[in-house]
Structure formats: C-alpha cells, structure tokens
C-alpha cells in the first residue's frame, strides 16, 4: 500500500479497501516472519551436503550432532528468551551475560552449602532456586533504574553488566567454583531416551514463556509498550510496574541459564555468560524481532538461537577454523536485518513514527 494515494476517489462511507488481501505482500510478510526457520533449514541442508561431500557422513541424521547442537543452544536460548521480552518492549538488557555468570557462581556455592545440611536432591533444588532468586536482584535494580529514574536501558544495564561481573568474580574468588553434588551433575549431563535433561527443561521453559508473551495481558502490554509507550500509558497500563517486572523476568531467565550452566559443567564460573550476551541479542534479531520494539516472537527466537548453534557447531564439524563462526553469525544478523527492513518497506508500515 503506497501511503494514501490522492488519486483515490472520495467516498461517502468510511470504507476499508486498501488494507486486505494483497497476496504479494502477505507472501513477503510470511517469508519475513518465518525467515529464521528458513535460514535454519538452509544451513542444515548446506552442512549436510558439505559433510557428505567432504567426509561421506551425514550431518543432521547423526543423533550425537543433534544432541550437541541442542546442548549448545540451551544457554544462549535462555538468555535470548528474556531478551526477547525486553527487545519487544523497546529496551535491551546488556547485563544478562554476567547475571548468568553470577547465577552460576551462586548455584555452585548454594548447592555445596545446602548439600552439607540436607539431602543432595533437595540441595540441588535449593541451589537452582537460590541462583534464580539472586539473579532477580540485579533485575530489580535494572527495572527501577529504567522505570523510575528514566535511565536509558542501554546505559542502565551496561552499568549492571559491570556490577554483576565484579560481584560474580568476587563471589567466585576469581576462579571457578566446583560443585560436589552427584544429582546436580546428573541433571547437567543425564539423558532421557537420548534427550539431555537440560534440553527438556529448556523446552518446557520456552513453551511457558511463549504462553506468557502471546497469550497473557502481560505479553500484550509488552507489545503495546514497544510500539507506542504513549498509547500504552493513556490506555491505563502501569508502565513502571510493567518495566520493573520485565527486567526481573529477563534477569531470572539468565539466572536459570546460570544454574543450568553450573549443572552442565558441575562448576560455577563468573565468565559463564560472557560470550553469550551478543548471541542472545543476535538470536532475537535473527528470530525476527525489531530492535525498535513492538515485534518478535519466542519461537522466532528459538529458531534464531538454533541458527547460531548450527553455524557454530556445523563449522567445527566440517573442520573450518573456528574464527569463521563469528563471521558467519555476523553475516546472518546483517541479512536478517536487511530482510526486516525490506519487509517493512513492502508492507507499507508507516516509517514516520
């Protein structure tokens, strides 16, 4: 739809004509929305062909590969799930990586401490719970800074990035904290019919988050705030309360990521999430969210996180120098944003706001 063409004849009634059923636009929009899944399919096909030509072996039909990719994707996906909510609201959370590190250290300490007093499985649960709750603290501070003191999210969470980083290293004494708990180790490395427990936990969590974003008033308000915060405020939505809950939610996602990291490596490390922050933003963007806020889905982010994991694991599998991973992920992010821009232009979305 080209913006209100003056050539249109004036009508007596308010008739909606131009908005519907333009098949070309519907088609482009659908491709743009599902682009992360198309990327994923394309990548898997590429690696399959590459693998067969180079080694005469299958890539995607090898269960070990699938397990590895899924495990690879768990931590970035947990961060990206929280990040999806934040980015849809028009913000960004740069502190998630080190909140995850902090949570991993807390999980290790808490599990060890609790293990001395209560049975191991309970100690494991206590450790996970403690890490998620402690992760909420920087989330509360982020939320208060952004909602009450009007600190821009980029700056507020950048400050928290430093604070969480320092706190995590202090608590860890500058090293990794090993966990002495067989249940915790089992959680991190066990499998159920070949599917790692970590992957099952993450899948369940992601479905719950999808529900929260797509089916609840909280999710609906999140989209509205991202699109037009004035409109949301005038509609009586409690913006400050929402923003606070939002950053606590994203921090707790990172907290769960930290706990699962500690389970996987049976150790907590302050730098656990350091390389994952940008991956989380990349997963959200590849998944179809706009950094300007107002759009994005959890399942898009799942595809985005899988794209990154497949690139990283696939390039190692076909024996390419690991530095190419960065280039490949970077190229995918840029292509993804270009598709988003093109789709906006075609769909006639108003650019003036």
């Amino acid at each position: 739809m080209t913006s209100t063409s003056p050539a249109q004849p004036a009508e007596k009634h308010v008739a909606p004509q131009a908005d519907h059923g333009d098949p070309a636009r519907g088609w482009i929009a659908r491709i743009a929305e599902g682009r992360a899944w198309l990327f994923l399919a394309g990548l898997i096909i590429c690696f399959e062909i590459w693998s067969r030509l180079a080694f005469g072996a299958t890539f995607v039909l090898n269960p070990f590969n699938l397990q590895s990719i899924a495990i690879f994707a768990v931590a970035p996906l947990l961060l990206a799930t929280g990040q999806t909510f934040v980015i849809i609201s028009g913000g960004i959370d740069l502190s998630l990586g080190f909140i995850m590190g902090l949570a991993a250290v807390i999980a290790a300490h808490a599990t060890n401490l609790a293990g001395a007093a209560i049975p191991l499985p309970l100690a494991m649960l206590a450790g996970i719970l403690a890490s998620v709750i402690v992760a909420g603290v920087p989330g509360v501070i982020n939320g208060l800074l952004i909602s009450r003191l009007k600190v821009p999210p980029f700056i507020g969470t950048l400050g928290m990035f430093g604070v969480a980083r320092g706190a995590a290293f202090l608590l860890a004494g500058g090293t990794t904290v090993p966990v002495q708990n067989s249940w915790f180790a089992l959680l991190g490395n066990g499998r159920f019919y070949g599917v790692p427990y970590l992957v099952i936990i993450t899948a369940v969590f992601v479905v719950v988050m999808h529900y929260l974003l797509s089916q609840t008033r909280f999710g609906q308000h999140n989209y509205a705030i991202g699109a037009n915060v004035q409109a949301a405020r005038r509609s009586g939505i409690d913006i400050r309360g929402h923003i606070l809950r939002l950053y606590v939610l994203s921090a707790m996602c990172a907290g769960l990521g930290g706990a699962l990291y500690a389970a996987r490596f049976t150790a907590g490390a302050a730098q656990a999430g350091e390389p994952l922050l940008l991956d989380s933003v990349a997963a959200v963007v590849i998944g179809g969210a706009s950094l300007f806020g107002g759009s994005g889905t959890i399942f898009g982010t799942v595809a985005g996180a899988l794209v990154i994991a497949v690139i990283q694991y696939g390039l190692v599998f076909v024996n390419v120098e690991p530095f190419w991973q960065f280039i490949a992920v970077g190229v995918v992010i840029i292509i993804s944003v270009l598709i988003d821009q093109a789709q906006r232009r075609f769909s006639g979305a108003r650019q003036d706001e």
Binding site: D19, A232, S235, A349
Partner: protein
C-alpha cells in the same frame, strides 16, 4: 429559537480558570455541550484550547471554577477518572499501538481473559475481534481482516479505530484534538462523517480545529477562545468565516 436551554447539558464548564504562576492560561471560561451536539473550539495558538481540554480530561486540576457532568459537579484527579466517567480524549497522534489489531487496541489495558482448559488464563482474542467488528460496524466501518495490525490502515481509518475505542467504552463526551490535521482531503471527509455518526448516537463532541471549513461542516456551535478568555460563542447557522476569524484575532 430558545430551545437550547431546554435540553440538559451533558457537560458544562463554569467559570473555569487555570493559572500557571502569573500566566492565566484560562480565565473564567464557561461553555456547555448538549447530547448530540458538536461544539467547535477555535482560537489561535496559545489561546488556551489545550489547557481547557486538559482540564476537562483530568490532565490538569483547574485553579478555579467547576465542571458539571449531567448537572453534577465532578473533579478528576487523573485522565483515567475522566475516562471512567465517560469523557474520552482522542489525541492528534492517535494513541494507537500500531502493531496490534483493532480489537487489541480497543481493549488495550482492559483485555478480556478467558480460561483455556478450565484453568489457564488466556487473552480472549475472539471476543475482542467480535466486539471490534460490532463497534466498527456502528461507525459504518467494515473490516474484513480483524487480525491485521492497525499500521495497515490509512490515517482516516486509524482515526476511526481511535473513535471506535471511545464508542465501545461508551464515552458520552469525545474531545477530538485536531482530528483532521494529519489527513488528506478524502480522509478528512471520512472523519467528518464519523463525527456525524457520533452526533446521531446522541454523544457530545468537542471538536478542536484550525480548519474553519471542517468546523463549519460538522459543528452546531462554535466557541472562540482568545488569550484564555471566551471571546465569543455563535451558532454555526448564524455566523460566517469572517466573523469567526475576527473573534479569533480580536479584530
């Protein structure tokens, strides 16, 4: 014809003042809106139009005077309170969330929720779409694809959505701030026809515009503000452009 005083006023403003320090943005201003009446508010920039509508819609507390709703004095601490009493303001920049559907915009902040599987609360999108379709039909606005985001619609159609929201929540008084300002000519006509619909439904409309053509096309009366005071009030049928301009600039 003296019948105007026989219908009870929907909204009446008596001797309303709003002072910002020494600045008298609004001074001893009175006006009334009756059911099914469109009252245009005209005046140059800085004449006090915005101050007046902000006082009526609960954004500002007036310094003096009173606001009467169906004859009863009311005060609004917040815009929400004004809205709950049936005074809805439709802003120039529309206040729609572009990425959401018409239904979601109408219910923004007041979304209906149903229980899926008997326990899980989920948004009742079907009810929202249904109510939206009904509401838009009452405004003679027929939409085939209710799930489309409002960014797909044109300026006039979006204005209709904003008005539809007010109608759905049963606003009795709609304050419209320059509703035609950002629109092309055909779109302006659509909005004018929407205002006629509101009038036919017995609602009161306060219509703020710089465009005398629009004012004369849709209003029953015109109230002119100049430097915070009421500079004149005319029936549209008994005045003309020249007189209104004179009132506005104080000639």
């Amino acid at each position: 014809m003296n019948s105007t005083n026989q219908t009870a006023s929907l909204l009446e403003v008596r001797n309303l003042s709003k002072h910002f320090g020494a600045v008298r943005a609004l001074n001893d201003f009175s006006m009334a809106v009756r059911p099914g009446e469109v009252v245009a508010l005209a005046g140059d920039n800085g004449a006090g139009k915005t101050t007046l509508i902000k006082a009526i819609s609960g954004v500002f507390q007036p310094t003096g005077g009173e606001i009467l709703l169906r004859g009863k004095p009311v005060t609004f601490a917040t815009p929400q309170e004004a809205r709950e009493k049936g005074i809805e303001t439709i802003y120039q920049d529309l206040a729609l969330a572009d990425n959401l559907s018409i239904g979601a915009n109408i219910f923004l902040g007041r979304e209906p929720v149903r229980k899926a599987f008997g326990f899980l609360p989920v948004l009742d999108r079907k009810a929202m779409a249904e109510a939206a379709r009904e509401t838009m039909k009452r405004l003679d606005f027929h939409v085939s694809r209710m799930e489309a985001p409002v960014s797909n619609f044109s300026g006039g159609q979006r204005q209709a959505v904003a008005i539809g929201r007010a109608v759905y929540w049963d606003a009795q008084i709609l304050i419209m701030d320059e509703p035609t300002a950002a629109l092309g000519v055909p779109e302006q006509r659509k909005v004018i026809s929407l205002i006629h619909q509101l009038k036919a439904q017995g609602r009161g409309v306060i219509f703020i515009s710089h465009n005398l053509q629009d004012i004369f096309a849709v209003s029953d009366r015109i109230v002119v503000l100049r430097r915070g005071i009421q500079a004149g009030e005319r029936k549209i049928s008994e005045t003309n452009h020249d007189e209104v301009v004179k009132l506005m600039v104080g000639g």
